[in-house]
């Protein structure tokens, strides 16, 4: 790890820290900075402000931090393993699976549960486990196919098809469901980092930490896979095992973030490209940490943008992420000639 590499990591860590602090100091309720500081230092302040900072803003910032990292790392791994610049967690159908699970729970239970508000505790847990089961089910299908199908492109197409099937089942469910259920499902679908309370935070962060840990273990084989599967196998990589580990890891990261935050678009697809553009490298030893940091940073930034209207309300997350993600993707496609990371 040379000096240039450390510089990237130090810089992006600094930016993420600033954005994180920003998320603590700004919100739809305006609280003076000095008061926020006192609250964070454990001082005495208005109990309502205390509640907002510690029970709402802090978990929300942490959620954005972890969810952004999780989605970005899933995207990076999928792009490398499928050797495809347009792969992402949503392409593989994992988040469609999670959505299907959520839709089943919400539409079956009617309007009794609120995904983002977390009105009824038991309903909320049902949503989370629904998302998880849905994501894992799709993942199981993909892993099953990966035993039979050798080609990564074919596997990618199967992922896309499974995603479509899940979406159409969701549409059918929506058609037959009660309006209340459809409404709360729609709210969940808008994406939100505020759905994880302080009590559920350890589970959420724990799952994502495990996923990121597996990803770190895959750095070396991911580098070898840049040469394609046959070269990687010749370098001593057990390709099939790595592929299954990668699918498990991606599934875990995507399922956790989708279950708790809704299907957040574009971060998984765009952030790895931003990381490559910034570092000018495909070496995962540098790319993975930078992707984690940029993922967190972008998620925190989107969270801040959502809070801009102040007292009037909160912008849905999925209305903001494409504004940042889509231009990146367009830039990458237009500049294929200049940026030949996949060539």
């Amino acid at each position: 790890m040379n000096r240039g590499r450390i510089r990237y990591i130090v810089w992006s860590t600094g930016v993420v820290f600033v954005l994180f602090v920003g998320c603590l100091f700004f919100g739809s309720v305006s609280i003076p900075a000095s008061s926020v500081w006192r609250i964070l230092m454990g001082g005495e302040e208005l109990s309502s402000w205390r509640f907002i900072v510690l029970e709402s803003r802090l978990p929300q910032a942490l959620t954005a931090l972890f969810a952004g990292a999780a989605l970005a790392v899933s995207g990076l791994m999928l792009q490398t393993v499928f050797n495809n610049p347009l792969a992402g967690p949503s392409i593989l159908g994992v988040d469609s699976g999670a959505s299907l699970g959520v839709a089943l729970v919400m539409l079956a239970l009617g309007g009794a549960v609120g995904g983002s508000g977390g009105v009824v505790m038991s309903g909320y847990l049902a949503v989370v486990s629904g998302a998880f089961l849905g994501a894992v089910a799709v993942l199981g299908i993909i892993i099953l196919f990966s035993m039979v199908v050798r080609s990564n492109v074919m596997l990618l197409i199967i992922g896309i098809m499974v995603g479509y099937m899940a979406s159409s089942v969701i549409s059918l469910l929506n058609f037959f469901a009660a309006p209340d259920g459809v409404y709360s499902y729609m709210l969940w679908g808008l994406g939100d980092f505020s759905g994880v309370s302080l009590r559920r935070l350890p589970l959420f962060c724990g799952l994502i930490t495990v996923g990121l840990g597996i990803a770190i273990g895959l750095i070396k084989p991911l580098n070898a896979l840049l040469l394609g599967e046959r070269y990687a196998a010749n370098l001593g990589v057990r390709v099939r095992r790595v592929r299954i580990l990668m699918l498990l890891c991606t599934g875990l990261l995507t399922a956790a973030s989708t279950a708790f935050c809704g299907p957040v678009a574009f971060i998984g697809l765009a952030v790895p490209h931003l990381a490559r553009l910034l570092t000018g490298s495909s070496d995962h030893r540098l790319l993975l940490p930078v992707t984690v940091l940029i993922g967190s940073g972008i998620a925190l930034l989107c969270n801040l943008i959502c809070l801009l209207p102040g007292e009037t309300g909160v912008i849905p997350l999925n209305a903001v992420t494409p504004l940042i993600g889509a231009p990146v993707i367009i830039y990458v496609i237009i500049n294929q000639r200049k940026i030949q990371y996949f060539n």
């Binding site: 490398t80 050797n83 039979v148 273990g217 750095i219 070396k220 580098n223 070898a224 840049l226 040469l227 394609g228 046959r230 070269y231 196998a233 010749n234 370098l235 001593g236 990589v237 057990r238 490559r276 000018g280 490298s281 495909s282 070496d283 030893r285 030949q340 990371y341 996949f342 060539n343």
Partner: protein, 344 residues
């Protein structure tokens, strides 16, 4: 046990397993040896099973039956990581490493030896540097792989295989996408690795000319004749090469070492010349135009081409006056003229 063979196949059947539907056999009963410290070329027409054979040798496919020995030990007993230290490959597969620098890509060859994160120590850096030096891409070390030409990329992949420090290197058509000069360079490079570094190299190629010049041994593979191995010159002189690749109108000319058009029904023209290169190029011109060069005519009289010098050629054609030509172009035009006269 033959100590000089790094790879030995005994009654090997190669092909693909199709799950429950059984197997697709590409070849069976193949027996061969890859000698240590030599350059061997695998030649065969398209669809002969060269790629399948290379895949089987590199462990990508399991043999359907028979024995495959790598350094005297059954190939299937090697673990993936053990094999990665014995056998390096250079493929025609598309890679996605455009965002790596040349140095980083060559360093991937150290994978079998490095730890959890693939961190290189001082020895690794030296080996990577030497590998780049050996193939002549040292000055490109900091360039992105995406910026390289096809030939340079191929060299970088060979440097990767060198950094892997395998005694055996298998290459699948390493000259396929290269221009003529790069091809010759590439083959010379490979032969230098064999001589200087003592590697055992097997490469598949369609470039028979280069293979004949530089291969110590040939492996010939075809659907009809199976497999035949031997020293290059032996296979040329005993007619095996012609048997494998010859067609009705294309035969291997042992004297020139080239494949040539032949037209067995073409008009015979006797060449009468002393100079070797004159004979060669006169033959070349005659064959190209559908004539048959001969040196002794058994019966009757036919056309005779008497080459006294490159600018002094006499052409005798039955029923025509003898003409003197001052260039090859002249007499070639003349015999074509006479031929059309006779036909009409």
């Amino acid at each position: 046990m033959d100590e000089t063979a790094v790879i030995r196949g005994e009654e090997l059947a190669i092909g693909y397993r199709l799950g429950r539907r059984g197997t697709a056999v590409v070849h069976d009963g193949l027996s061969f040896t890859l000698p240590r410290g030599e350059l061997t070329c695998l030649l065969g027409p398209n669809g002969a099973g060269k790629s399948t054979l290379l895949k089987t040798l590199s462990g990508g496919e399991q043999p359907l039956s028979g024995n495959l020995l790598l350094n005297g030990r059954p190939s299937e007993t090697y673990s993936v990581s053990e094999r990665s230290r014995v056998l390096g490959v250079v493929l025609t597969d598309k890679t996605y490493a455009g965002g790596l620098r040349v140095r980083e890509l060559v360093a991937l060859g150290r994978h079998p030896y490095t730890g959890f994160f693939g961190r290189l120590d001082r020895d690794d850096y030296r080996i990577v540097g030497d590998a780049m030096e050996a193939v002549g891409v040292r000055e490109k070390a900091e360039d992105y792989v995406a910026e390289l030409s096809d030939g340079e990329r191929q060299k970088v992949m060979i440097a990767k295989a060198l950094a892997q420090q395998c005694p055996v290197i298998l290459l699948d058509e390493p000259t396929a996408f290269l221009d003529v000069v790069s091809r010759i360079e590439m083959m010379n490079l490979l032969h230098r690795l064999v001589r200087d570094e003592g590697k055992s190299v097997l490469l598949s190629t369609h470039d028979i000319d280069q293979a004949l010049l530089l291969a110590d041994r040939l492996w010939l593979l075809s659907k009809e004749y199976g497999m035949c191995c031997g020293t290059t010159e032996d296979l040329v002189l005993d007619g095996t090469l012609n048997r494998f690749f010859g067609r009705r109108n294309v035969t291997f000319d042992v004297a020139s070492g080239m494949f040539r058009f032949t037209s067995p029904e073409g008009r015979q023209i006797k060449i009468d010349a002393e100079d070797r290169s004159s004979v060669h190029w006169a033959e070349n011109a005659l064959l190209r135009n559908g004539f048959q060069p001969v040196y002794d005519r058994e019966q009757g009289d036919g056309p005779i081409l008497r080459i006294l010098g490159t600018k002094e050629i006499e052409l005798e054609w039955p029923g025509k006056e003898m003409v003197r030509c001052s260039s090859f172009g002249d007499w070639i035009r003349k015999i074509k003229e006479y031929e059309t006269d006779e036909k009409s």
